[in-house]
Amino acid sequence: MKKILVVCGNGLGSSMIVEMNVKNILKDMNVEAEVSHTDLTTAKTEHADLYIGSAEILGNIDDGSRNIALLNNLLDKDELRQALENNFK
């Protein structure tokens, strides 16, 4: 079971919405994964197979050792689908 973590600055509003979108898209793709959302500070210490977030926030934890999908527009479902398809093909 792969784990996906959606990250935003507060870990409350936008990351929760994106988490719901991720779950819907995965259902479409017939992919099983554990999806949750959190804030940037917690994300640094929490392991996941894929981190999703907006470019200006998630750039902060990009140290080369993680698998990160940076989105230009968090709410663009097509961009999100593309990022997920790149990771779960």
């Binding site: 600055g9 509003g13 929760m16 919405i17 804030d39 500070t41 907006s54 968090l74």
Partner: protein, 455 residues
């Protein structure tokens, strides 16, 4: 038995919220494992919220002793998470009830009126539910009438607030797919409104080079820690070692003590945010799921960072100017005999940034700057004016931060104090809400006709 159910089960907010989650999960026919873990997490989130409140109150007590000793006026740190967590002790059940029925009211109103907004910023729904229960209880209401009226107020705000902002949100996003659901919207509305009149939207902020280095403040924990450490150390220097080491820190060096108290406050905010996240983790998706079934073509009203990607420079500019306005306001507030509101990086970052984005969309650079200054002044003066209507909760050295909380609290708090009869007050409130809906309806029609003429 009845007593056990009414007082111990439903009177314990943790269990009440857990029951909501349990019913929601069962209604969605989730697997038994999901039902158990979802319910437990929701209850645990509420318990964690209370633990965070204890941490924050400890730090706030030290802050207010120091501040009062140094300046002889009371200082207040607006922080929604803190005030709501503190209030749960007394208002937990009312908050949970108003929140649940407010969400149901939101769905009903979205179904029946042309305002098809589903307000998905769960933590703000909870904060507003808390504010409403404080205002109504302080005004002498209780029981079912209070919860019913509270839910109607909350549900109405959940569609009116996105509706008010929607004309400007369209200008920001260049589409009509999403709305903004955030109780700082009156500040953004002011920014958009002023921007339209003073600025020129063709001179966008996005053509300027703005250093990206302030992006780290998007991390709430970092921003809170930084603000509180700077604040406590500055305050510690004002107060001096004698008072602190004798009265507060039991001999610990005064600067080390101040530094640790600042971080303690930040730790409390972090704990509360974690609790709120767990608490809402099941409720908001269930709310959205139900709303999508009942309201065809519903528009999601989202947290304010949803508009940030549309103007990245306006985000930074908006934050800086909102914060400057907050600092200037802090010095002006005592002249009006009001409490000193300490500007926080977090409220100014999030709401200032959003105000900057709206100001830029309607009035370019000048709109972004003047609009975010207006927001900064509003989120300094409104929290100060709000303190007296919060009753005993107004003495906590913290209060609600964003613009809508101030406006809503002031309007309903003043009304309930003016009108002795609760029945009469209820009628007046319902009349006000009806007028707002009618106005919104009329404006929508006019705009539609204008658009037709242009087309």
């Amino acid at each position: 038995m009845v007593d056990l159910i009414m007082n111990d089960l439903l009177g314990t907010p943790e269990i009440l919220v857990g029951l909501f989650a349990l019913i929601g999960l069962l209604a969605q026919r989730k697997a038994i494992a999901d039902v158990i873990s979802g319910t437990l997490k929701t209850v645990l989130g509420f318990v964690i919220l209370g633990a965070g409140a204890t941490v924050i109150i400890g730090s706030l007590d030290q802050f207010s002793s120091m501040f009062t000793h140094a300046f002889n006026v009371s200082g207040v740190i607006p922080n929604n998470e803190a005030i709501v967590a503190v209030a749960q002790d007394t208002f937990g059940t009312e908050t949970a009830m108003i929140m649940l029925f407010g969400m149901i009211t939101n769905i009903i109103l979205a179904r029946l009126t042309p305002f098809k907004y589903i307000f998905l910023t769960g933590h703000h729904v909870m904060f507003m539910a808390c504010l409403i229960s404080v205002i109504l209880t302080t005004g002498g209401m209780s029981g079912i009438p209070m919860i019913a009226l509270g839910a109607i107020i909350l549900g109405s705000l959940m569609v009116l607030s996105p509706a008010l902002l929607q004309p400007y949100t369209k200008e920001v996003t260049q589409s009509d797919d999403i709305a903004v659901g955030h109780f700082g919207s009156i500040g953004y509305f002011a920014a958009g409104f002023i921007g339209k009149r003073v600025g020129n939207k063709s001179k966008s902020t996005e053509e300027i080079k703005v250093p990206k280095s302030l992006g780290f403040l998007r991390d709430t924990t970092v921003a809170v820690s930084l603000t509180m450490v700077v604040l406590f150390i500055a305050l510690g220097l004002f107060v001096g070692p004698t008072f602190i080491e004798a009265e507060l820190s039991e001999g610990q060096n005064f600067l080390i003590f101040s530094f640790m108290q600042g971080l303690t406050f930040a730790a409390g905010v972090y704990v509360i945010l974690t609790g709120v996240r767990m608490l809402l983790g099941e409720i908001v998706p269930a709310f959205k799921g139900i709303a999508d079934k009942i309201v065809p073509n519903a528009k999601p009203a989202l947290d304010c960072p949803a508009v940030f990607p549309f103007a990245n420079n306006a985000v930074i500019i908006g934050f800086i100017f909102s914060f400057i306005a907050g600092l200037v306001s802090m010095l002006l507030l005592p002249l009006f005999g009001l409490a000193v509101i300490i500007p926080g990086l977090v409220p100014h970052f999030f709401t200032g940034a959003a105000a900057g984005v709206f100001g830029n969309a309607t009035g370019g650079r000048r709109g972004a700057i003047i609009g975010s200054i207006a927001n900064g002044v509003m989120i300094s003066f409104l929290p100060a004016l709000l303190l007296p209507v919060l009753g005993t909760l107004g003495f906590q050295s913290t209060t609600f931060g964003d613009a809508d909380f101030g406006v809503v609290g002031l309007v309903f708090g003043s009304l309930i104090a003016l009108i002795p009869s609760n029945v009469f007050f209820t009628i007046i409130v319902l009349a006000i809400l009806a007028v707002l809906f009618a106005l919104g309806w009329k404006l929508r029609k006019e705009r539609k006709e204008d658009n037709k003429k242009i087309a």
